[in-house]
């Protein structure tokens, strides 16, 4: 900046001086933290509005949620200002979203994923809300809504079970019976293969569906507690109990649909719509693929068969979606009112009217308008001794996405290399769980 001096001996600044001047300015500019840009948007808390970050970007849930908020406004006079983001983008950005200036309330999932943000202090405890709504939910749901510190952080809205789906007409035509034990399941697969059916429809292109099969075999064989320990990083993947899960899975693999690594679950479901596949282990959202009413009425399901009499069929995998409160909501009293409303059976019923592939989390919701499939799903969930979420909801998402997804795909392609795979998973798990 010495350049301003008049009468500088050099008639023009040398190239270097000039560059240095610019460089200095640049350095100065870089010193200003760019991050300050993401401050408060300026809107001071409006006592009549609650803001809500939503991942319900699909048409059906988006409309269903909008109807809930409209009903809430009628009842309380409070407006819910919804900020909808694409479902996957919402998940990818949740980290920075919650650290920035999040909305007062946001859509999220129960389980470890909820507890993670609670323990990082990115969510507010809502015990005051649960004092009011506690009576609406069964114990399993209460357990699901608590953080590791024992406080409530979550209001569940709906849930859906994972089970083995089949078509009644196909079972009738061939005289199949619903298997209740592992041996019966294997025998049924054999029979179906002989009858020219694909015994088990399967797809793993998106890498998560295989986790569902692992979960089922694992908690049937080793029980709910072991599932929790394993997902929490406490039990070892080299434990013979885990090896047994893969051994059983390998026994069933020859009956799975060919070419699953290149197929999405929607395509796999289509083989069942076309009656080419006998069974499909998936969440009840598989019903969305049955667009023809006659086909949908033909769809039924049964719980994964018993593998160990000590545990029977006491565990049901039932991922649950709902709401959480961000770390410093602007309109606290409004948030409490909204969550109390979302915890009522009335709110759930509004949602279920629009989306019939799921069931209410509340035990008080009116089930009279349920389809046969929904009724059965509801019974299965409310009768369960323990509810699991899903591998990537019950464990650290970084572990499941970077280690388990590729790991399970590797197993599916080479079922014989289980030992090496399991010790590799265990080694990677240790580093990841040690990191935080």
């Amino acid at each position: 900046m010495h350049l301003h001096l008049p009468g500088s001996s050099a008639p023009t600044p040398s190239r270097r001086t000039l560059l240095r001047g610019i460089g200095g300015a640049a350095a100065l500019g870089a010193g200003i933290p760019l991050l300050s840009a993401c401050g408060d948007s300026g809107s001071s808390a409006d006592p009549k509005t609650v803001t809500l970050g939503s991942n319900a970007s699909d048409a059906v849930p988006k409309k269903a949620f909008a109807e809930i908020y409209a009903a809430f406004k009628k009842q309380s006079g409070l407006t819910v200002d919804v900020n909808t983001k694409d479902h996957n983008t919402f998940q990818e950005q949740i980290n920075s979203y919650l650290q920035g200036t999040p909305d007062d309330v946001f859509n999220w999932f129960a389980g470890y994923r909820m507890q993670f943000f609670a323990s990082k202090k990115l969510a507010s405890p809502i015990d005051d809300v649960w004092d009011k709504i506690g009576g609406n939910f069964p114990d399993a749901m209460k357990k699901l809504s608590k953080g590791q510190d024992g406080k409530y952080y979550f209001v569940p809205l709906y849930t859906y079970p994972w089970a083995i789906f089949y078509r009644k007409s196909v079972f009738q035509q061939h005289g199949y019976e619903v298997p209740t034990t592992w041996d019966q399941l294997v025998a049924l697969c054999k029979k179906m293969k002989k009858d020219g059916l694909v015994p088990i429809a399967f797809a793993d292109k998106d890498a998560w569906p295989a986790m569902g099969t692992f979960d089922q075999i694992n908690f049937r064989l080793n029980g709910y507690d072991f599932h929790v320990e394993l997902m929490g990083g406490k039990a070892s993947w080299t434990d013979p109990k885990v090896k047994a899960v893969f051994d059983h899975w390998a026994e069933l693999l020859p009956y799975h649909q060919d070419g699953f690594m290149g197929r999405t679950w929607q395509d796999a479901a289509q083989t069942m719509v076309a009656k080419k596949a006998g069974m499909y282990l998936l969440g009840s959202f598989v019903a969305q693929q049955f667009t023809n009413k006659a086909d949908l009425d033909d769809l039924d399901f049964f719980a994964f068969p018993e593998m160990n009499p000590a545990y029977g069929q006491d565990t049901v995998e039932a991922p649950t979606d709902g709401f959480m409160v961000s770390k410093a909501p602007k309109n606290h009293s409004g948030v409490v009112k909204l969550l109390e409303y979302l915890g009522t059976p009335a709110a759930e019923q509004i949602y279920l009217k629009a989306d019939s592939s799921v069931v209410a989390a509340s035990s008080k919701a009116d089930t009279s308008s349920y389809s046969a499939l929904q009724k059965k799903a509801y019974e299965m969930i409310s009768g369960a001794k323990s509810l699991t979420q899903f591998m990537d909801r019950d464990s650290r998402p970084d572990f499941t996405s970077t280690v388990m997804q590729p790991g399970l795909q590797k197993f599916l392609q080479n079922p014989k290399g289980v030992d090496g795979l399991l010790s590799s998973i265990e080694r990677q798990k240790k580093t990841i769980f040690a990191s935080a």
């Binding site: 500019g29 070419g259 990677q428 580093t431 990191s435 935080a436």
Partner: protein, 326 residues
């Protein structure tokens, strides 16, 4: 360097010259100064703003990710950054089952691109350069894949490769139980399947580069070789191809870059599952998401950076040496 040592250092230039007489003399010359105050402000803004952005978005982030490669961080609050030294790299080199396949696939990617679509592109360019009929139409047809985004290319090729409903399996009947070809899932097939799609696009890209190179070839060279009685192949081999040397350098660099940044096609194709792992995808999978492994992902990014530098630095040195000689 030597040429500049005799110009004054900035400090020296900044010292006001002694003596008022000198100052008076200098005053009228000041008007002839190249830059007025306004020019300088303009210049500072024009050069300064991009520099600030460049430094902030390129250099600061690059150094930040190098630094983060030696830490673990879940992206939540700066106080959760923990220094772990070389642990991430140790983990990566010894424990990550996807890392070495990814490196290998990036190399295969480069080798295939240089061996298949590059000669194809050259061949097409030579043919089109002959001004055959409908040359523009062919040119457009071959170049079209380059214009389309790679993500879209991925979607299109998925329709071809889909194991149940895709074009190939439907035509050859390989979508029935028993005889099934899983183009996307089979680890022995999927990399090659996706490389065909990548080559399909790369050929057009190479064709345009070579076509531009060929337009620059002096027509008198062709005439001369024709007069000397060389046939077409001889002319190409001994006359045309050697003049394409600068183009070849560009082609090599472009292909290396394409191989290192390969990402979108595979990400759309099967997200880098078994058989198609790539470094860029490993980075993305580790960094993006709910509870990200930012330190670990940065370590993979550093590996990719080192590989890129190992390729780019020799190229830059060679280029600058040539320029200085010229």
């Amino acid at each position: 360097m030597t040429a500049e040592t005799d110009t004054k250092t900035p400090e020296a230039a900044a010292v006001p010259p002694p003596g008022p007489a000198h100052e008076q003399k200098a005053a009228p010359r000041g008007r002839r100064r190249l830059l007025t105050r306004r020019d300088r402000i303009t210049l500072a803004l024009m050069a300064g703003v991009p520099t600030v952005l460049h430094v902030a978005l390129v250099w600061v982030t690059a150094f930040a990710s190098i630094a983060l490669a030696f830490t673990t961080w879940d992206g939540i609050g700066f106080d959760s950054i923990k220094w772990v030294g070389l642990d991430n790299f140790r983990e990566l080199f010894t424990n990550n089952p996807q890392f070495w396949p990814a490196v290998q696939h990036n190399i295969i990617w480069f080798v295939v691109l240089i061996l298949v679509p590059t000669p194809m592109g050259l061949f097409l360019a030579v043919q089109l350069d002959k001004r055959i009929r409908f040359s523009r139409v062919y040119q457009t047809a071959f170049f079209l894949p380059v214009v389309v985004s790679l993500a879209v290319t991925g979607f299109v090729w998925q329709l071809v490769y889909n194991p149940d409903t895709g074009l190939i399996n439907s035509l050859v009947g390989a979508n029935k139980p028993g005889h099934y070809i899983d183009w996307i899932g089979d680890p022995h097939l999927n990399l090659w399947a996706v490389l065909i799609a990548a080559s399909w696009r790369h050929t057009g890209y190479m064709m345009i580069l070579y076509l531009a190179g060929l337009k620059g070839v002096d027509p008198s060279l062709r005439e001369a070789s024709a007069l000397d009685g060389a046939n077409e192949w001889q002319t190409f081999k001994s006359v045309i191809f050697p003049t394409l040397r600068p183009t070849n350098t560009v082609v090599l660099v472009v292909t290396i870059i394409e191989a290192l940044r390969a990402f979108d096609l595979v990400f759309v194709f099967n997200k880098g599952a078994q058989g198609t792992e790539l470094l860029s995808i490993l980075i993305t999978n580790n960094i993006i998401g709910e509870s990200s492994r930012i330190g670990y992902g940065s370590a993979i990014a550093v590996v990719l950076l080192v590989i890129s530098l190992a390729v780019i630095i020799p190229y830059l040195i060679a280029t600058f040496r040539k320029e200085r000689r010229a």
